[in-house]
Every structure is written in C-alpha cells, then in structure tokens.
Amino acid sequence: MERQEIIDGLVEILGTVRTIDPEKLKNVTEETDFIADLNTPSTELINIAAKAEQKFGVEFEDEDIDDLGSTVKDIVDLILVAKERA
C-alpha cells in the first residue's frame, strides 16, 4: 500500500470529524499536524486511530497510541508498521 493511498484514506476519515474544517483537508501532506494545523481535539485522535484500524485492516497496540506523534506522517508510519506486523 502506497503512502499516498493511506493519506487519501486518512483524509476520508478526517472528513467525518465534524470539528475539522473541510477546507483544511484540501492540502493535507505528511507534514500536516492534526493538532496544530487541523485543530483536532485530543479526544478525537483516539477515534481517528480506531477508525484507521478499521479502514486499513490493521490493529494498533495501546503502546503504539501512547507513543504516536501528531502528524499525518506519524500515523502513516504506524499503519505501515502495523501492516507489516500482521
């Protein structure tokens, strides 16, 4: 699975989060920060991770989420690691 494909899937997930301005989703890159750039509430990050598990057919460990950074790159990396682990 290509990184861009994962980013596109993440943007679809982010589109379902009502607190995120859809305009801000037009230019999401790996450097985009969920908190600083998209104003995502911290409580939503867990929901996004849970939705990403479903969308990409992976399973994250609690510790993965503890150590997760707040950029798109961080979650793309985690999805790829989780896919490899599976």
Binding site: P41, S42, T43, I46, N47, A49, A50, D62, I65, D66
Partner: protein
C-alpha cells in the same frame, strides 16, 4: 472475577480516601456499563450550602463509570491488581460533553451513577449516563439484582429515584505515568 459486584471501590480505585466519591457497586457488566452509589459526607458539602457540588457530581460519575470500568478492564487484560496499575498509569479526564443538572444532592442523601459505555479502546473510555437520588430505605443491591442491559439503557427505574443529572461523553484515559515524569524532567 467476572465483574465488580462485591468489590469494595477502595480496592479497585487509585484515589485516596478523601477524594474517593464512591461507596458501592450495584450492577456491572464490563462491556456495557455500571451502577454505583455514593452518599456525600460532611466534608463533601462543607462551605457549599450543605449540598454536593455539581463538579463533584461529575467527578463521582467519572469515578463510578469510566475509572471503575476502565480499571477493571485493564486489570483483566494485564492479569494484575489495581495496585499494580497504579505503578504505571494515572486516570485522567480527557473531555466532558454536555451535562444538565435537574436536582441537587444534600449531605447524607444517597445517589447512584448509571454509566453506559459508548467507546473503549487504547485505554480511553467514553460513557453517557445519569445520576439519580435514591429514596431512603431502598436496598440498591436487591433492586438492581435482576436488571439487564435493556432496563439499564432505558433507565427503567421506579419513583424511588429522582433524576439529578444527565451526562454525555464523559471521557477518560489511563495515561502512562512516564508522560508526567518526562514533563517534569
């Protein structure tokens, strides 16, 4: 241990005695929700008109629901005691949704928190629920003995229970202690 019935909250909770706002568990289904009670003590209403504060109702609800259920689930997952959890984690509020207050609770008046789990993953739990004041003399263990999920979800209670508060999206997470240690370092 299948659930928290028969467990003393002080053995399941990490809070010290003056901050524990929970006396007993009356119904618990780990994947669904819980019913627990508390009776405010003199220290809980001191300097506050003899009534239990609204913020303390939210704290009591959180202790009864997200903290109790979360601790139980994590202990089960890690095959450990709450005391062992205390070494690694701190329960923290993540967010509080809407809360509507309908009534008050005075010193010596027992109330129950009914919490229904909406989400639980990555040590984060979200509960909706209600707080009800209980008429004097109700045996809560006996009352809830035959309750099932449907009755809990419908708040199918008798007139012995007075609605005190409705709470939505009460969210908490067990945070790893080393996060705080790193911040202090």
């Amino acid at each position: 241990m299948e659930n928290l019935l028969g467990v003393s909250p002080k053995d399941n909770m990490l809070h010290g005695p003056t901050k524990l706002l929970l006396d007993a568990y009356h119904w618990h289904q780990p994947d669904f929700g819980i019913v627990a009670s508390y009776t405010p003590k003199p220290r809980d209403v001191e300097d506050h008109f003899g009534v239990f504060r609204g913020v303390d109702q939210i704290e009591a609800f959180a202790q009864a629901t997200i903290v109790s259920c979360g601790s139980f689930n994590e202990c089960k997952k890690h095959h450990c005691t709450p005391l062992a959890l205390k070494e690694k984690f701190i329960p923290a509020f993540i967010s509080i949704g809407n809360v509507s207050f309908h009534h008050y609770v005075a010193e010596g008046e027992t109330f129950i928190s009914i919490g229904i789990i909406k989400f639980y993953k990555f040590r984060q739990m979200v509960c909706d629920g209600r707080i009800y004041k209980v008429a004097k003399g109700v045996d809560l263990d006996a009352y809830f003995r035959d309750f099932d999920q449907d009755r809990i979800a419908a708040y199918d209670l008798s007139k012995d229970f007075t609605l005190v508060a409705e709470l939505y999206d009460i969210t908490g997470r067990a945070l790893k202690k080393d996060i705080f240690e790193k911040a202090e370092g």
